[in-house]
């Protein structure tokens, strides 16, 4: 517990400020430090020049959609572990997400234990790569 995981940085993308903040708090309460992005475009900019082992992103966002982010993540090597959170269970989004590999899919509001477990699992997987 509470082992520093500086190397496995988690990026958080949500255009809703209050949701973004609450996720930050939730992850922090479990000792996970994150980089939070309120604007998807800024995240993509960051991803272009930084390693992004784990991404937690919303699907329905203005400007750049989560699906676009997923598509961009496919192009990155090593491929980031992606966790999708969405306010609405949408088949099209699920199908697209599945195409880029093993992805956790959470529908808001979600179970905090399962979510945190999925994030840890992704971080571990990213570390072992």
């Amino acid at each position: 517990m509470n082992t520093p995981r500086a190397s496995a940085e988690v990026c958080l993308v949500d255009d809703d400020a209050s949701v973004l903040r609450s996720m930050q708090y939730l992850l922090a309460s479990d000792g996970i430090e994150v980089r939070a992005f309120n604007k998807p475009a800024e995240f993509l900019e960051h991803a272009a020049s930084h390693r992004v082992p784990v991404v937690v992103t919303d699907i329905w966002m203005e400007g750049v959609t989560g699906l676009e982010i997923l598509a961009r993540m496919c192009a990155i090597t090593p491929r980031p572990r992606v966790i999708v959170i969405t306010a609405r269970d949408d088949l099209a989004a699920r199908v697209t997400a599945m195409q880029i590999g093993p992805v956790a899919f959470f529908i808001k509001p979600f179970d905090d234990e399962k979510f945190l477990g999925a994030v840890r699992q992704a971080m571990d997987a990213a570390r072992t790569v």
């Binding site: 903040r21 708090y25 939730l26």
Partner: protein, 690 residues
């Protein structure tokens, strides 16, 4: 030459020894038109001149006063009360009494119709005052009397006309009056029928029934007896012998049965020269009219003209009244007149029913005003006063509150009548009962609201993604923050500042969730809400935000292009939002078939001349039916599989209920554009709250 021979030459009347003077004196007496009778104190006639003999009988001159009453009947002016010998002015004069201008009616002798005389009598005395006898002077006033009676008769007929007696009765009296003026004269009055082609019986009291019946309904024409011809030619027709005159060819048998020989007919004309009828005189002898008869005809046609004309006017008036009241009764219209000076009022029967007044109740202006619903009374009164003063007319739609709480919707229209100084004399007007229409209007409005509500509910069904997203966002944040707080506490890492942060976020998010719920409720609520000053740009931004998830899911883009400093409008917020939701959802449907990057919708606003605000929703889809883009606003018009075709019809009714207009058109470079315009309100933003 001098018939009165009993003059006592010893008497003191003429001066003795003046034979020549006496001759002259007697000559005057016997030639004068007035009767002069002189009696001595014993009643023996000394003078009984020629005129006296004519009036009272030639043999009287040989008699004494006491024998008079056996010869001629003398009556008081009532023509029936006999005059006793003592009452004879000559007898009173013998007793020393004077008589001035007494009228006496004389019957018998040569005068079959009797004689009217005016009498003056004086006692005669000598210089010492000794009574010698008496003198009586009588003037024949029969002609004057007859004329007087004739005039009185005319007045009676005119009075009957004025009193609106039946025309038949009036004309019969007129005919009898005329017939009374000449011996053996019979008269008739015929009327011209409404079609102007036939004669109708008017009055003929002394013509045989068979004659009257045969004439009634006969045609007029150039050869139709005296009357039919007179009416046709508009000129008097004189037939001196009906047995030979060609005009009477068809009526000779009738004339024979009726004993008629001559018939003179004169048309009766109205003041405007229209033929109203004819007046005819009949005689049993073959001759034309004499001057006196022509005079009677002139009087008779004049009076008959007045009578017939008046009756026609009355008939026209009655018919008009009947028509008006028929119209009034069938049209639910109340007629009324207000007399503000006397504070009295009149109202038709229908009006009294409408206002709930008993038919006998005397009406006042206040009473009528009191029936107006208390909530509207002051307003109606003010409108009335102002309109009457400004335009002289008045119109108001309001409710009446009747006894027992019954409500009636009415429209009241009036016109003020003023005198030459501009003082209000009266207001006349009508009140229409529009309760039934009002009821229908209210029902229609209710149906419209019901339809609009269903439209909003169905819109919400189409916006589920947006609502789920809008609600899930704050709920997720709250859940996350609560979980985080629990974890921080379990690990003992919670400081008070962190806890405050988390709680504050949770409060803010629950408020945000509440807002979303309120938004949904306002759309689902049945009642339409009140008008408010709106910034359309803000409403558009809110609506686009509300729809954002659906827009995203449909991989479409809605771009606002809003003019800065847009004037405000007065509108019901939820209805404007409903209009925008319908238009944007329609556009989203319209672009659905396009590739995602072409699914564009532009919502723009602009101000036109500062008077009007225009909102336009433009898509780049397939466009509207080319022949008639406006058809999309019709009820049940739909190009969509699931569409009910109500959305745009409701949109139009909402826009129009805000005094706005909405138009649909195809844009030249593709797609459709819907734009609606609302009147803008020029109010400083700070005064909004007031």
């Amino acid at each position: 030459m001098f018939e009165a021979t009993n003059l006592d030459r010893e008497g003191s009347l003429p001066a003795q020894g003046c034979d020549e003077t006496n001759e002259i004196f007697y000559s005057i007496l016997s030639n004068m038109g007035d009767a002069v009778i002189v009696a001595d104190k014993k009643g023996k006639f000394l003078v009984f001149n020629r005129a006296a003999q004519r009036m009272f009988g030639a043999d009287m001159a040989q008699l004494t006063l006491t024998e008079w009453s056996d010869r001629r009947s003398l009556y008081l002016p009532d023509k029936v009360t006999p005059l006793s010998l003592d009452e004879l002015p000559l007898a009173s004069a013998l007793r020393g009494e004077k008589t001035n201008n007494a009228e006496i009616f004389v019957r018998g002798g040569d005068f079959s119709t009797g004689l009217w005389v005016r009498v003056n009598a004086r006692p005669l005395s000598n210089a010492d005052g000794k009574r010698l006898g008496a003198m009586m002077v009588c003037r024949d006033i029969s002609e004057i009397k007859e004329e007087e009676f004739f005039r009185a008769g005319q007045s009676r007929v005119l009075e009957m006309i004025a009193a609106d007696k039946p025309l038949g009765e009036v004309l019969t009296n007129l005919v009898l009056l005329m017939e009374g003026q000449a011996e053996g004269l019979r008269c008739s009055i015929l009327l011209l029928s409404r079609d102007g082609k036939h004669v109708r019986h008017g009055a003929a009291p002394n013509l045989p029934e068979i004659y009257v019946r045969a004439v009634d309904g006969a045609p007029i024409g150039p050869l139709n007896g005296s009357c039919g011809t007179a009416m046709f030619t508009r000129r008097p027709v004189v037939v001196t012998d009906v047995m030979t005159d060609p005009l009477w060819a068809n009526y000779r048998d009738l004339a024979r049965i009726s004993g008629l020989s001559a018939c003179w007919s004169t048309p009766i004309l109205s003041p405007q020269g229209e033929v109203l009828g004819s007046f005819a005189m009949y005689r049993e002898e073959k001759r034309g009219p004499v001057a006196e008869e022509n005079r009677l005809t002139e009087i008779a046609t004049h009076i008959a003209g007045i009578a017939i004309e008046r009756q026609r006017q009355q008939e026209i008036l009655r018919e008009r009244e009947a028509r008006i009241s028929l119209a009034a009764e069938s049209a639910d219209v109340a007629f009324w007149i207000l007399y503000p000076e006397e504070n009295s009022a009149w109202m038709s029967e229908k009006g009294r029913l409408m206002y709930g007044f008993d038919s006998k109740l005397p009406l006042t202006c206040e009473l009528i005003l009191s029936r107006i619903h208390p909530d509207e009374r002051a307003r109606v009164k003010e409108t009335y006063d102002r309109s009457c003063a400004l335009h002289g007319t008045f119109e108001s739609e309001h409710r009446l509150l009747l006894p027992y709480g019954k409500i009636r919707w009415v429209i009241m229209r009036g016109r003020c009548l003023k005198d030459e100084h501009g003082n209000l004399l009266e207001t006349i007007g009508v009140t229409l009962d529009v309760s039934a229409q009002k009821q229908a209007d209210l029902q229609l409005q209710h149906q419209r609201e019901e339809m609009a509500h269903r439209n909003r509910v169905s819109l919400m069904g189409e916006m589920t993604a947006s609502f789920a997203h809008e609600l899930n966002q704050p709920l997720t944040a709250i859940a996350n923050n609560a979980s985080a707080a629990r974890r921080f506490l379990e690990r003992g890492k919670m400081d008070s500042e962190l806890l405050r942060q988390l709680l504050q976020d949770m409060v803010a998010d629950s408020q945000r969730a509440g807002e979303v719920i309120r938004g949904i409720r306002s759309l689902v609520r049945k009642e339409k809400g009140a008008r408010a000053l709106l910034d359309l740009n803000a409403v558009i931004s809110d609506t686009i935000r509300l729809l954002s998830s659906d827009v995203l899911m449909r991989e479409s883009v809605v771009t606002p292009d809003l003019e800065d400093n847009l004037p405000q409008v007065e509108a019901v917020p939820v209805q404007i939002q409903q209009v925008l939701l319908n238009l944007i959802m329609n556009s989203l449907d319209a672009v659905e078939a396009l590739p995602p990057n072409e699914r564009r919708i532009i919502v723009s606003t602009r101000s036109i001349d500062g008077q009007t605000v225009e909102v336009s929703v433009r898509d780049f889809g397939a466009g509207l039916p080319g022949d008639d883009p406006e058809k999309v606003f019709d009820h049940f018009f739909s190009t969509k599989q699931q569409g009910m075709g109500m959305g745009l019809a409701i949109v139009r009714s909402i826009v129009e209920s805000h005094d706005g207009t909405i138009t649909a058109e195809n844009v030249r470079d593709g797609g459709a554009r819907f734009f609606f315009r609302l009147p803008s309100i020029h109010t400083h933003p700070k005064t909004q709250a007031a």
